[in-house]
Each structure stands twice: as C-alpha cells, then as structure tokens.
Symmetry: C2
Subunit: 206 residues, 2 copies
DNA sequence: CCTACCGATCGGTAGG
DNA sequence: CCTACCGATCGGTAGG
C-alpha cells in the first residue's frame, strides 16, 4: 500500500477514518447485531486492519455507544425541526412528528438505531452509558407526549391514558421499519403519510 | 453425581431434559440474544454439561429454531382462541385479539419471541427456516387483518389502508413489551385493556 | 497505520 | 450423560 507507514499520528486523515468507522459500524450493527459484528468486519469495510481501529476508539463498546448516541440525536433533531416548523395546532404538530419520525427510519433503514435493537444493546452497554441513552430516548418520547397533552388540553384530542397512547403511537412508528420493504406498493413517503394519518385518527374526537 | 453413567439412551428422562433445555434457551435468548448466549450458559441452567445438549439437538441453530416456532405457535393459539370465543362483531373480535396478544406478551416477557428479535434472528437462521417462520408470522398478521377487513365491509370501521393499519396496530402491540415495566402504575391487564381500547379508537367511525 | 501475537471463549466432535 | 479435546474466531495488546 502507498499509505505512509509513519507520520499517521494526528493527521487530518484521522477525522475521515473515524467517520468511516462509525458509518461501517452503523451498517453492520443494524444488520448483524453488536455481537454478530467483529472488528475485522468493520475494519475491512473501512480498508484498514482491525488493530488500527484502536487509534480511534478505546474499545468495541465505545464504537457501539457512539453509534447509538449519534443515531438518537440525529433522529431527534430532524423530528424537533419538523415539529417546530409545522403549523401551530396540535393536529399539525402530531402529523409532523409522526411523519418525520417514520420517514427518517424508513430512509435510513440500514443505519437506524432505535428500532428493536435497544433491547439487545442493553446487555452490552455499561450502566453509565445506559443512563445516558435512556435520557435521550426519554427526550424523544417527551416530544410526542407533549403534543398529545397539548391536543388534549386544547380539547381537540380524545385520549384516555396519555402514556399508553404515546407508546402506542411510538411503537407503531418504530415498527414500520420491519414490514416496509415487503410492500413495494407504497413508497417511504406514502407509508409515512399513512402512519401519520392513523395517528391522527387514533386521537381524533368523534 | 448419582446419575447413571450408562443407560441414559431413550429413557423417559430425555423428554424432560429437552423441555428444560428449550425453557432455558428461551429465557437466555430473549435476555441476551442468540449469539450472546453460549451452550455452556444453557447447559448450566439445565444442570448438565454443554456437550450433552447434542443428545437432544443437532446444533445450536436447531435450539433457536425450535424456540422461535414454539413461541409463535403458542401466541397464535391463544389469540385465535380468544378471537373465536369473542362476541361475533368486528369490534369485539378486534378487542379480543389486541387484548390477548398484548397480555400474552406482557405475561411471558422473559420468554417472548416476536418482539424485536425476529430481525436479528434472521441473520442466524437458514433460508429454509426463515420461510417457515415467515409463514407463521403471516398467519398471525392475517388473523388481525381479517378482523379489520370484516369491520370495514360491515361498515363499522373506517380504514384508509388496511395493510398499514394492520401493521400500525401490530407494531403498537408488540412494542408494549419495551416500556411496560417502567410504568408500575398499570398492571399487565390494565395495559392490555388500554392498548385494545386505542386500537378500537383508531378504526372507529366518527 | 501495520504485523505479530495473546488469552479467552465459542460451537462442535470423539469416545466411552 | 460425561471428560477431554479440537479448530476457529474473538477483542485487545506490544512494539514499531
């Protein structure tokens, strides 16, 4: 290889490699799971040898944690922006939230984080890391819950138990990733739209 | 040990051990995932040594497959029975389905199959096994979908896209397992009831 | 960023 | 049902 055998410390190439590692890990973790993905697998995609990964991350665990935190944050940012930009009614905010959350999951299907894996990941994360990711997940749930509470107090939503309905909608959204590919009839946007419409129908006052 | 070193072939004890293995595997797989569970882990719970597992299963893969198929079948049987026994209206059938499905998941939380893991399991199952489990899952989806179709043609449900609404409800149900434990305020039956009420509200005609 | 290498653990086999 | 053991693979380290 023409790569420099010396002088690799603190070069600008490092930044690039770090991102490439995270990207490769994201794809493999979501496809094969954490334990099912070896450092050799990740390194191969990046085009380096496995031990070189330790120039960018202290442990395999650190790669997992970074991947998860990045994924949650990216999703939250998209949802928050769409909700903020939406018209100022509970219905529009709810549509914006569900639509953007669903669409984000479907479009980044190969690198998604939240869908189904958090449960398994719990076994490979340190207690301190778990606290952090749980806090981030709660922020995400809060975003949806606040919309539902506002709609209820505005008198436009009918909801018996806000917690249950929040998780009901959240579960439906996050599960969309599992069956989407099987229905070529509908595009990602079609599905996101229909899921959002279902969420609205669920809380609509008769 | 007082166990017979010889004469263990085809004794009645075998039947028992096989079930014990499946039970142990179910708990560990759902808690640690397939790759995260070693044969030593399973054997330890049963009270035997790892190589002895091969008297009951040809491979670790076969244990996984049996565990999954058993789980899906048990769930389906419960749901079908509850739906059949319910009053003969689409609303009652829908309530019966969602309530029994949710309750089954919450009550057998440690050994559940369908929730979130099928995606990961796909990587460790043979194509022929995948075909079989997919067929079983489709049967489960069909059970719910038929109720929705019937309600729509009876004119009591309002549904834009039956496929999307089917998976919307299915996703909400299967996700209940992830957040349930955090809400000690509600019992398993409380949650199952509220989830079923949400499903009804979703399809109710205004 | 590499090569060389380590201890630990895994699924599975042989043979009784 | 056991003990003894195998090849393969894993995450991670040493040293340059």
């Amino acid at each position: 290889m023409a790569r420099q055998p010396i002088g690799w410390l603190r070069t600008q190439a490092n930044r690039n490699t770090r991102q490439e590692i995270l990207q490769a890990a994201a794809m493999l973790f979501s496809k094969q799971g954490y334990v099912g993905t070896s450092l050799v697998d990740i390194a191969k995609i990046v085009g380096i040898k496995a031990p070189s990964l330790y120039n960018h991350f202290k442990t395999k665990n650190e790669i997992l944690f970074t991947y998860i935190v990045d994924g949650i944050n990216a999703l939250y940012d998209v949802c928050l922006q769409n909700v903020t930009e939406a018209k100022d009614t509970a219905q529009d905010k709810l549509y914006a939230y569900v639509f953007s959350h669903t669409l984000s999951l479907l479009e980044s299907q190969e690198t998604s984080t939240l869908s189904g894996q958090h449960h398994l990941n719990e076994n490979f994360m340190l207690p301190e890391q778990l606290e952090q990711t749980n806090a981030l997940q709660k922020k995400q749930v809060r975003l949806l819950k606040d919309i539902l509470m506002r709609g209820k107090s505005d008198g436009v939503f009918q909801i018996t138990d806000i917690t249950v309905t929040t998780f009901f909608i959240m579960g439906a959204v996050e599960h969309s990733i599992y069956w989407f590919q099987k229905e070529a009839r509908l595009s990602e946007k079609d599905v996101a739209h229909l899921v959002a419409e279902n969420a609205l129908a669920l809380v609509k006052k008769p």
